[in-house]
């Protein structure tokens, strides 16, 4: 793909290549790659925000403390609204996922950086974790009764053979839809920016038009970065609600 003459100096997909930072080109499970580096930076910046930012514990918060508190309250309200009182136990889980995904998305917006969440292997690992945790909680709380999730109350008997397989498929497809949504959004957005950036040079004077578009899209990408992290955690909350409260509302 990359060696075809496309008029671009770089290929728009080049930004997603996982490169080892030290030594040869081979990637093993223990190789430190640029993906590892940016995940590590994400954890460092989250730790800096949460630990250092809230260390003062001031009544009138500083700017970093206020950001940390806003994030905390935002997710605490989200978990409470969606799962009720019983779900607050799992607040740290949702909060960790939200902050991790958000910071990875935001770090990906830095020019020349690497977007870890634009790789399906990362998002699928996160989504599989959510799926396994939700299923485990469901069976731990309700035992075999958790299987009633697939048969809504008041379902007429003739509809059972139709609805139950649909419910089972929609349950099993959750990790795929959850991971594909995040990965495809981040990847498509970043590719779009790179493709438009390529037009700026090749159009000469008229490159101003794609330049403006690129700036606008970059702003939109920041919104998408936040929105996707939020949707990921909202859906985690909804899945948790299914596992905790089954179909009835709290």
């Amino acid at each position: 793909m990359a060696e075809e003459a496309t008029g671009l100096v770089f290929h728009p997909m080049d930004q997603f290549i996982v490169k080892p930072l030290f030594g040869g080109a081979e990637v093993h499970w223990y190789t430190v790659t640029n993906s590892t580096l940016w995940m590590f930076l994400a954890i460092l910046s989250v730790a800096a925000l949460m630990v250092l930012g809230t260390r003062g514990r001031a009544i009138v918060p500083s700017r970093t403390q206020s950001v940390a508190e806003l994030a905390y309250e935002f997710i605490a309200n989200m978990v409470y609204d969606n799962t009720g009182k019983d779900g607050m136990k799992y607040f740290p889980f949702v909060f960790t996922i939200f902050v991790f995904v958000l910071v990875l998305n935001m770090l990906g917006m830095i020019p020349y950086s690497f977007t870890v969440t634009s790789h399906i292997v990362v998002t699928f690992a996160l989504a599989a974790l959510v799926f396994i945790v939700v299923t485990a909680i469901g069976f731990a709380r309700h035992g075999v009764g958790f299987l009633k999730l697939f048969k809504p109350d008041g379902l007429p008997l003739p509809l059972v053979p139709i609805i139950v397989p649909i419910e089972i498929i929609s349950f099993l497809i959750r990790p795929i839809s959850l991971s594909v949504r995040l990965f495809a959004n981040m990847m498509a957005g970043h590719t779009l920016l790179k493709v438009f950036a390529g037009f700026i040079v090749s159009l000469g004077v008229f490159g101003v038009v794609p330049l403006v578009a690129t700036v606008a899209f970059t702003g939109l990408e920041f919104l998408v970065a936040f929105l996707q992290a939020m949707i990921f955690s909202v859906l985690t909350c909804i899945y948790l609600n299914d596992a905790i409260n089954m179909h009835d509302h709290h």
Binding site: S177, V180, R181, A184, M187, V234, L235
Partner: protein, 74 residues
């Protein structure tokens, strides 16, 4: 037809799935907005439902995009 050309055509065709996603997302946000303007006080309570609808509508389109990427790079 060369296999390479067929691959590109197939990838382009797979992106048609995003038409549906576009219609769906537009419908959801448009209807949310018209509902929110009629009854602004009830709007914040439906924000989560809005996002669920948005996420579900978008996912189906992105499956198509995924197929296109798998054809191109898989």
């Amino acid at each position: 037809m060369e296999a390479e050309a067929a691959k590109f055509i197939g990838a382009g065709l797979a992106c048609f799935a995003l038409i549906g996603a576009g219609i769906g997302i537009g419908n959801i946000f448009g209807n949310y907005l018209s509902g929110a303007l009629r009854n602004p006080s009830a709007a914040p309570g439906q924000f989560t439902n809005l996002l669920i609808g948005f996420a579900l509508a978008e996912a189906t389109g992105l499956f198509g995009l995924l197929i296109a990427l798998m054809i191109l790079f898989g």
